[in-house]
Structure formats: structure tokens, C-alpha cells
Symmetry: C2
Subunit: 317 residues, 2 copies
């Protein structure tokens, strides 16, 4: 494609059809985007990169990948309880063909509208591997954000739903990256618990989204809060039951983006009511917090389980 | 290197030694960073990606590259007149060796301190090509940001300094990417006009930083403002004089990050005083704005120059 029409296509793909941001003064097309912060709010921000061949199959449909990348990034806002404000997109394209750009943009737009995430600005570059970096942001009432360091002994540990669906379907996705059905949905379309996360603001203490594996991510709360996080394996909803040979992968595989959070026992009824309000099918107590050196202890049938690998690591050793 | 020590090294490299942000409530290590916006300010934001082998030599010292990437990204804040607040870093590493990470972090830290840019958060991933995405942000008094759409007929066009230094040294940098001296400084250490940009807030109308070529970037203002931008080639400070065979590359090559801005004639004295205050050696009127269909006209000795290529394009055709 000639350069000018390629630029036009990129502009068309990324300038219209996204949700409108009421606080956006200046969007794509200047040196910076400009927004007006509301009074008395904190700004929660996170940046997330996904690289072809590392975080997703290089031959996967670009629209599915872009939508998934936005979901994964936005999940960090849900884990803080923030109300989404929008995102900036840094896209390194290895393919600038018409169908590729249109498919990528269509998937991104669909997800942006589902999550109500305006596109505020971006940068498009060329490279050998499709790389999608998304910087998300949202607002939080002052001092109420769900941090990792606020779990306290005596509190319950909650989980929003099943874990393991994305990890167990990954081999199938790698074999056929175009497969977009109910089974691959945990991988391509993980639910982002934005409204539930926001409802938890005055109820939960610490929270994290499960992106790298239940045990590994729970350990982040244990370390930040200086507590023992006790998980009762029999209470954790998993994609396959406890006798299945791949059951343990449900606890160590990533990509489900469920919320794990802690809360005092007197918040139980209100949390269950909020889960109903947010339309969650499952939201369960899966363990409790005790005092001690920071650790995660997983029990099954009164035995302590030990995992050689607790989650996804981003580097090769 | 074993995984745990590698994670420790990354944490060490990116968690200490950066400027402190007074408005940062929560930095690296949670799902999101948290900041408190000041009252009555707008938030200016930009995201910028640099890919090894595309935007910089793949075998360049990582510290030089990281510092340069931060300068290039921060330049967008200067072009809006914003006061820097901080940045998020999305780093895709192709090398996790000790010396590589330490050199990269040292260069980034040095530049962050020079520019007073706190590191707010980030994401580190693995990939085949070193890719650095930086999301910068800063504060602007309401309504005063220097946009591209505010140039008006009758106004002067100003330029902060010489153009062409980075473009002309690029071949040398590609031959020896380790060369870090006065000649390669325009490429590796472009000056970011943060304080001058901020001083221009009540004086200039439109502004842009020259990242892709003087003519091409001037055209962005012409298009956004709907005006003719007339450049007088003889008045433009260039790295080589007008008889040099590569002189035209000074007007079309990118990477100098000078500011080009428009201002009414009655602001001339105050602009010159601000340039002195900001320690600029050169800041000159290089043309004027007239009414007409959006265009850039470059004159030299009363002849209209035509350039087959006006600047750097980010895509291969």
C-alpha cells in the first residue's frame, strides 16, 4: 500500500468508533493528549506489553489479540477498584496490510466499547514482531484503592471465579489460534471485573488480578502485606476437578484474570450482595490470612501441597 | 542467571535512584501506580516506542538508547509546555545479562535525573528485539497547553536551535554505535526544551517538537491550524551550510527535537528574554504564517524549494 493511504487507514482505524471520554480535551493528533482530572480523585495507571510469539501465538487473528491485550491491561484497574478513564496504545506492527489493520482495530474497538475504555492517544511503529503496549488509567476516590499491602491476619481470602480455563486451553489455542469459541474464551476474552472491583472499594482490603498464576500472584499479597495466605485447594473453583492430571496447572497457570482479594469476616454478606449486583456466577472464600512470615500455604485434604513452579515467569532462565 | 536473582536485579535497577515524585502515592510493585493530581491542572500524556534495528542500532549501548528514548518521549511534554510529572516504562528485553541491564538502567536513571522525571511504574517482558516504550505525563495550567491548531496568519515562526545534527551523524552512529562524543550528542542526547516550553505557555500559540523532520513536522501545524507555514531557508540554523551537498537533509531529517512554534509579533522581546532565561544559544524567527490552504512553503533566495521526501516515515511502503 502507498504510504499516504496507509497513514489514512491507520488514522481511520484508531480515530473513530471508540467510547467518548467526557474529560478528554485533546485526543490523537497532537504532541500529547490532554485530560482534566476530576476533583479529589487519585489516578491509577498501569502499562502492559504483549509480544507475538511470547505472550500470544504470532499467527493469531490480530483482532482477538488486540482485544485480549486491552482486557489484560484493564484488569489491573479492576484489581485496584478504579473506574476506567481510558488508554494509550503503542503498537509495533509487523504487517500493515489492509485486512490486518482493519481486523486488529475492529477487535480493539469492540473490546474498548465493552469495557468503556476511550482511546486517548498512541504511537504506531514498524518492527519484526507484533508488539502491543497498552497504558491504562482510571480514577479512584482518595485513599480507597485496593493495594497489595493491606491484607491482615483474620481476614478471608476471596476469588471471583474459576481458575485454569485459560492455562488448560493454551495448547489448543497454539494449535489453532483462529479458534474463537466458548472453550477458548477464557484465553481470548477473559472477564475484566471492573464493576465488581469498584464495588469492593469499601469492603475489600488487598486485591490482585490473577495474571501469572494463582499461587504466584497470591504470594505478591503475602509479601507486600507480610502475612501468611492460606489457600484451601478444595474450595478453589478450577476448570477441571482435583483428580484430573492437569488440576495443579489450574493453580499455577496464568491468564484467567480473576480477582483474588482479602476482606474482614464482617463484610461477607455485603460482598456476596455485590457479587450478585455485578452478575458474578461464582465468588467464594478460598482461604484465610494468618500472622507469620510472608508465605502462601496451599492445603488439600489437610496436606500441605508444594509446587515446583508457582506461576508464569516472564524470562527464560 | 537464575530467575530469582534476575528478578532481583530488575527490581534493583528500576526501583531506586530515580527522582522522587511528591504526588506519587504508590509506585512500582502493585497492580497500578497511584498519583494525586493537583487542583486546576490538565494532564498531558504521550506514549512513544523505539524498536532495535528500526529506531536505533541494535548493537548500540543500552544505556545510551534508554536515555535517548526517555529524551525523545519527554520532548512531547516540552512541545505542549507541560511540567513533567513522571513516566511509565514498558521494556521488552532481548538480553537479561547483568551488564546489559545495569548499563540500560544507569543510562535511564541518569537521564531521568537530568530531566527530573520520576519512574512511576512499568512492565518488563522478554522478546527477540529490545523495544522501549515510554509513557510520559506532565501538568499544564488549564487551557494554556501549546497545541498544533493555534497558529494564525500574521504570526512568526520560531525555532529553538540548529537542525540536522542528528540526521547527519546517523551514518557514523550506525558504523560505530558506541561513539558517545560531541558529534553524536545530537543523536544520543538531544536537548529537551522543558523549561523553555513551559516559559512559552503564555507567549506562543502553536508548537511541535521536530522528531521526524522540520518540514514534515511543520506540516502538522499547517494542517491542524489550516494555515500556510512559510519557512525562510536562509534563516534556519542548520548543522551544515546551504552549499553543503547534504544541506537539504537538515530540513528533512529527524531526531533533533528542537521546538518549532508560532507567536504573535508583539511577543518577540519576551520570547527572546525567555530564551536567555532558559539558556538557549539560538532561538530565531525562521518564517511566518499566512492565510491560505494548509501548506508548508520553503523559500531560499526567493525560490520555492520542493522536497521529494519531507521527513521520516515510520513504515516501509
Amino acid at each position: 500500500m502507498a504510504r499516504s493511504s496507509e497513514f489514512d487507514l491507520i488514522r481511520d482505524c484508531f480515530s473513530t468508533g471508540y467510547p467518548a471520554a467526557s474529560d478528554l480535551l485533546l485526543g490523537i493528533g497532537d504532541d500529547c493528549s490532554l485530560i482534566t482530572p476530576p476533583a479529589d480523585m487519585e489516578l491509577a495507571q498501569s502499562i502492559d506489553t504483549q509480544v507475538a510469539g511470547v505472550h500470544f501465538p504470532a499467527d493469531a487473528p490480530p483482532g482477538l489479540i488486540a482485544g485480549r491485550a486491552l482486557r489484560c491491561a484493564t484488569s489491573d484497574l479492576a484489581a485496584m477498584g478504579a473506574v476506567p478513564q481510558g488508554f494509550h496504545l503503542a503498537l509495533t506492527l509487523n504487517n500493515s496490510e489492509d485486512w490486518f489493520l482493519r481486523d486488529l482495530a475492529a477487535g480493539l474497538r469492540l473490546t474498548a466499547n465493552t469495557l468503556n475504555m476511550p482511546l486517548l492517544g498512541g504511537d504506531t511503529t514498524y518492527g519484526e514482531h507484533l508488539t502491543i503496549t497498552i497504558a491504562v488509567q482510571g480514577w479512584l476516590p482518595r485513599g480507597l484503592g485496593l493495594r497489595r499491602d493491606a491484607a491482615r491476619p483474620g481476614q478471608d481470602i476471596w476469588l471471583t471465579g474459576k481458575v485454569g480455563g485459560a492455562a488448560l486451553i493454551l495448547d489448543d489455542v497454539l494449535r489453532d489460534p483462529t479458534r474463537d469459541d466458548q472453550d477458548t474464551a477464557p484465553y481470548y476474552h477473559p472477564r475484566v471485573h471492573l464493576s465488581f472491583g469498584h464495588l469492593l472499594l469499601s469492603l475489600a482490603t488487598a486485591a490482585i488480578d490473577i495474571s501469572d498464576g494463582l499461587i504466584q500472584d497470591t504470594r505478591h499479597i503475602a509479601n507486600a502485606s507480610g502475612v501468611v495466605m492460606n489457600l484451601d485447594a478444595e474450595k478453589i473453583p478450577t476448570a477441571v476437578n482435583g483428580e484430573h492430571p492437569r488440576w495443579h496447572e489450574c493453580l499455577t497457570g496464568g491468564d484467567d484474570y480473576q480477582l483474588l482479594f482479602t476482606a474482614p469476616a464482617d463484610a461477607r454478606e455485603r460482598i456476596e450482595a455485590c457479587a450478585l449486583t455485578a452478575g458474578l456466577r461464582e465468588c467464594r472464600i478460598v482461604g484465610n490470612v494468618t500472622a507469620g512470615d510472608a508465605d502462601v500455604c496451599v492445603h488439600k485434604n489437610n496436606e500441605l501441597l508444594v509446587f515446583s513452579k508457582e506461576g508464569y515467569t516472564h524470562f527464560r532462565s
